[in-house]
Symmetry: C2
Subunit: 147 residues, 2 copies
Amino acid sequence: MASPTPTPLNTRPDPLTLEVVELIGEVVARFHEDYEEAAAEHALTGAQARLLSLLCLEPLPMRRLAQRLKCEPSNVTGIVDRLEARGLVERRPDPADRRVKVAAATAEGRRVARGLRESLRFAREPLAGLSEAERVALRDALRGMLG
Amino acid sequence: MASPTPTPLNTRPDPLTLEVVELIGEVVARFHEDYEEAAAEHALTGAQARLLSLLCLEPLPMRRLAQRLKCEPSNVTGIVDRLEARGLVERRPDPADRRVKVAAATAEGRRVARGLRESLRFAREPLAGLSEAERVALRDALRGMLG
DNA sequence: TATTGTTATACTCTATAACTATA
DNA sequence: TATAGTTATAGAGTATAACAATA
């Protein structure tokens, strides 16, 4: 029997799906703008802000950091260098494996990261305009998208 | 009287809002990954892909292009240079103002942009997993967010 | 031998400032 | 004089390849 699934992968999406794609693109663009702007307010680049935020959750070896940021390990060296020069991050030896260097946020780094989170207006303000029911619907739809 | 508005700007967001913010961040990250990957499949950088996509909607003077991309006009010169070298974009004189150069996608540029759009899996596939009602709810919530 | 982090290199994107050709 | 586009310059992110230290 024919499947009732909406938007099969190899046919054209329906107008509703197209509009949602368009809207997601706009949200993504605004979110990014807002993130870069918030980072700049703290004299950080986007990459630096993302790395610092990751390290505020837990210290990570350089290699792992590269995996999380989805970039080459060689890039992480420079980003950590610049954050370390500002005292926001430090490199610690791993006693279990002397090849490994574990990057960790300093107290100052965590302070800056907190300020960064609080600067993120867009992710919060427009949400304030939604009713609780709308936010629940949005949450469920987003969960569904992320599988 | 106390306002019943959810998430006033200068207080901590409630857990629901926090989760939605988290989810939006993930969607944004995945969307971006997907976009960069699709661009790379066509030997384009993200910036080149965005500029080319804009020009497929309508030709634009360099200055306007910079405004749309939210970057300095001097950057647009290089991006258009690289796309022009590959025959995907061309610069046309503006008869009304000889200072202006209008950038336009070539037929080949439009072909590449079409392939690019079709490569954007993430924006479409996860949506296919949502019911029509969920997609409507998502659309309305996104519209609400964008004001 | 394999792995971790780094260095060296080259390219792109970015902003700033100075230049040119028009207006 | 003001504006459109460019050039020149410098900093940052990115990938690739080669390297040292360690496993």
